[in-house]
């Protein structure tokens, strides 16, 4: 297994390299630059700025410098926020997104897995239709509808929580629910599907025939295999949860990483975009690795090869 992990880590290096290269050149191909503003400044000033940030050098030289800095783990200064480095901006905002993401993940897993299991036990009855209808609703109603609804109702009408902001522990509740519901809905459907597939297999029938209690059938015989689709989904989903959601952060005014993904691209903040993309990519690679290890453990038919 160690060999497997090590190999996968080695493979991640060329992947990150390709992502960095593609991102770098795609950004430079996009029209407009970091210093274009509605109030146009003199050409001399733009030239001076470009010189300052090394944008006057040939593109390939810029690329080499960027890569060299990346190797040292230096993502460079932000163009938009000149007195901060990209490393600092990520270091400041990632913990917020991480905290929100973990809370949301717990809600999603708890609600999703439980309702998925319940639904799978009596397929095509009320205990299946109700949670699945709710899950379908959860998938269909976007976070930008749920968020303001929760904020207005629990924040303003009932006054239980602040409608937005990130100051007190209680401020985590509404955004975590908003984000969690959305993922819970997916997880619920995936869990139901995975569970049903296993529940219909011969060994489960055998277990039942031998008189195993329903809870034993679920926990001991079915759950491990039934969760496989959910676990596969969780890899990229968790990366998305942890790096923050632009929409949820925007609705609840949360100082997380999510907004940098969107705003830095609009701002043509070259270094910030590259930093955010690489950070996200590395997280996805790492979580996919975790998921693969988990899958082998869950599914005896797979081997580390």
């Amino acid at each position: 297994m160690l060999r497997f992990v090590f190999q996968r880590l080695l493979q991640a290096i060329p992947v990150l390299f390709v992502i960095a290269t593609v991102t770098f050149f795609m950004l430079r191909l996009a029209p407009g630059g970091p210093f274009d503003k509605e109030k146009r400044v003199r050409v001399e000033i733009i030239r001076n700025m470009e010189k300052h940030y090394g944008l006057d050098k040939p593109l390939f030289v810029q690329y080499l410098i960027q890569m060299k800095n990346l190797l040292r783990g230096d993502l460079g200064p932000s163009f938009k926020y000149p007195n901060r480095t990209v490393n600092e901006l990520i270091a400041d905002s990632f913990p917020v997104s991480l905290e929100l993401g973990l809370d949301a993940l717990m809600i999603a897993l708890l609600l999703g897995v439980l309702s998925g299991i319940v639904a799978s036990l009596r397929p095509n009855t009320a205990t299946d239709y109700v949670p699945m209808a709710v899950a379908m609703l959860g998938i269909c109603v976007p976070t930008f509808v749920v968020g303001p609804l929760l904020s207005n109702y629990f924040g303003l009408k009932l006054g239980w929580f602040n409608p937005g902001g990130w100051f007190f522990p209680s401020d985590r509740v509404l955004p975590a629910l908003t984000l969690g519901f959305y993922f819970a809905a997916y997880i619920s459907r995936l869990t139901r599907g995975g569970m049903l597939e296993i529940l219909n297999q011969d060994f489960v029938r055998t277990a039942r025939a031998k008189g195993a209690s329903p809870s034993r059938v679920v926990l001991k015989h079915t759950l491990k295999g039934g969760l496989i689709p959910t676990i596969s989904f969780l890899g990229p989903a968790v990366a998305g949860l942890l790096t923050g959601s632009f929409v949820v952060e925007n609705i609840f005014d949360i100082p997380g990483l999510g907004r940098f993904f969107v705003t830095s691209a609009f701002n043509r903040d070259y270094t910030m975009v590259l930093g955010a993309v690489l950070f996200y990519a590395a997280l996805i690679l790492a979580l996919n690795l975790v998921v693969d290890v988990l899958l082998v453990w869950l599914n005896p038919r797979l081997r580390f090869e």
């Binding site: 996009a30 000033i45 007195n83 303003l156 409608p163 043509r268």
Partner: protein, 530 residues
């Protein structure tokens, strides 16, 4: 919308603004995350709002109408030809490190903002000063020849190359602010934009407040500066600036008692507040114009008659009332109202039959054979709605059909700069209270002209106005320039902006102003009034 009536509903729990009222701490929405707090490199009002709490220039602004009042300079003399200003600095003005603010601090600061390496966007604000432009563009190397001189520690002399009647108003701009050069040098190069002197703990200012905390995307907190020369007059103990980008979230925070003042109001709620809570909302005009550029190098827009016809064939009142819906004012010229002594006389006629005749004269009777023309706007729901309305008005009134195209912001900026458009959405906000900040836009080859339009007579008028010390005569020249502009219509004014803001009852001395600047030292809070 019924929820609005629940306004200050919280029963027992003390809200953030109630605590703020008690402690004289203001909580204010500030739109978005400040890029930096260096007065010499900032470009937006977001940053300006915070910096004006931290640093004070030679003169300050009065809280209500922004007229210049003594700041670090307690008085000044103006030479007879109005080109030499001698400022007498206060003996008791200090930096937050305790050292006095001197005339040479100002001279060194002017030198820094004009350094070509710093590439300050607003360095042109100093161009009325003798040789400032030459130094800034690198043709002059010796700063001693620039018109700023410290006569002694507390006397500063500024020489202008021509009388600039709005000079005192101009120097309230942050580009004219002094900075503490030793502090900047301590944290890096003097022209280094990545210099970290503007972070809390590093920042040295001379204003009524000092920088205490800056949490990215969360808030900036400033606290009363006990060493400020006029500290006795400062009533607030602190201000929190929140970078809330989502206007709906900001409005909810206001209703929940988390903000005293908002930066903006959601478009859909402006009329609701005006009806149900007129005491909480203001929507006063600011010096900003929404307009469309005509690319005069593209036929048929190279024909003045076509441009005039297009500009006359829209119903601006209807756009303001039914589409923009924020109390905007229909614009029939470029320079907004609100500049004392100047109200543009030239007004685009609101005459549909004239528009139709002009179009026929230009060879397109009833819009027949009108070539394909596209309105370009940056991707935004509000701009789209206005473009669609204008498309429909032109179709109905002139019988021409135009197409719409939207582009992402930076792409849009690139396209308009390269004149790859026919008609493009634009907006301009004044930098100081004078018509020049608008009319200067359209001089030949001006970086923000971006229409391809050029007119010798117009350029001459703007140039003459810059040299004229007599305010009356200057305004007359501007009137003539504006008349040319509204005859030639290289641009089509649509409306003048308003700044909708929600303000709680406890806030005092916070006035809507035409530049949306609010000198913080006068603001205070009255507990128990929310």
């Amino acid at each position: 919308m019924g929820a609005l009536s629940l306004l200050p509903s919280c029963g027992k729990r003390e809200t953030r603004i109630e605590a703020g009222d008690r402690e004289q701490v203001l909580h204010i929405g500030n739109g978005t995350e400040p890029q930096d707090l260096d007065p010499h490199t900032i470009t937006g009002d977001i940053e300006h709002h915070i910096v004006m709490a931290l640093i004070e220039g030679l003169v300050s602004e009065a809280p209500d109408d922004l007229h210049p009042v003594p700041g670090i300079a307690e008085s000044w003399d103006i030479s007879a030809d109005r080109t030499v200003y001698t400022f007498h600095l206060r003996q008791n003005a200090r930096w937050s490190t305790g050292v006095p603010v001197t005339a040479s601090d100002f001279v060194d600061s002017f030198e820094r903002v004009l350094l070509p390496e710093l590439a300050s966007d607003y360095s042109y604000m100093l161009y009325p000063m003798k040789n400032a432009e030459a130094f800034n563009t690198g043709t002059l190397k010796d700063f001693k020849e620039v018109g700023a001189k410290a006569l002694d520690a507390h006397t500063l002399q500024i020489t202008l190359h021509s009388p600039t009647p709005y000079f005192l108003s101009l120097i309230t701009n942050p580009a004219w602010y002094p900075v503490h050069i030793p502090t900047i040098k301590k944290y890096g190069g003097i022209a280094d934009r990545a210099n970290r002197w503007t972070l809390p703990g590093h920042f040295v200012g001379n204003g009524p407040f000092v920088l205490k905390e800056w949490k990215v995307n969360a808030f900036v907190r400033v606290q009363k500066n006990p060493d400020y020369w006029d500290a006795g007059a400062v009533k607030l103990n602190g201000i929190y600036f929140y970078p809330t980008e989502n206007v709906d979230a900001e409005e909810r925070a206001f209703r929940a008692g988390m903000l005293h003042i908002t930066k903006d109001v959601p478009q859909t709620k402006i009329q609701v507040y005006q009806k149900e809570h007129p005491d909480l909302i203001t929507a006063k005009p600011i010096l900003s114009t929404y307009y469309y550029r005509f690319n005069v190098t593209h036929p048929p827009l190279n024909d003045k008659r076509v441009r005039r016809a297009l500009a006359m064939a829209i119903d601006r009142d209807s756009i303001c009332k039914n589409v923009a819906r924020g109390g905007q004012v229909a614009a029939y010229n470029l320079t907004p109202p609100g500049i004392a002594g100047y109200t543009a006389k030239a007004q685009l006629p609101n005459d549909l039959s004239l528009a139709k005749n002009l179009l026929a004269e230009a060879g397109f009777p009833e819009g027949k054979n009108f070539p394909e023309v596209t309105i370009l706007f940056n991707t935004h729901e509000g701009h789209k709605a206005i473009a669609e309305t204008i498309q429909e008005m032109w179709r109905k009134n002139l019988g021409i059909s135009v197409r719409l195209r939207n582009e992402e912001w930076k792409v849009f900026l690139d396209t308009t700069l390269k004149l790859n458009y026919d008609v493009a959405r634009a907006a301009w906000g004044g930098d100081y209270v004078d018509p020049n900040t608008f009319l200067d836009l359209m001089v030949s080859g001006g970086g923000n002209n971006q229409t391809g339009w050029s007119n010798k007579e117009y350029d001459g008028l703007i140039e003459d106005a810059a040299k004229t010390g007599d305010m009356q005569k200057r305004f007359e020249l501007f009137q003539q320039a504006e008349a040319i502009l509204m005859d030639e219509v290289p641009l089509m004014p649509i409306y003048f902006y308003t700044r909708p803001t929600l303000i709680h009852h406890s806030v005092r001395n916070f006035f809507p102003t035409v530049l949306d600047n609010h000198p913080w030292k006068y603001v205070y809070l009255v507990p128990g009034e929310d």
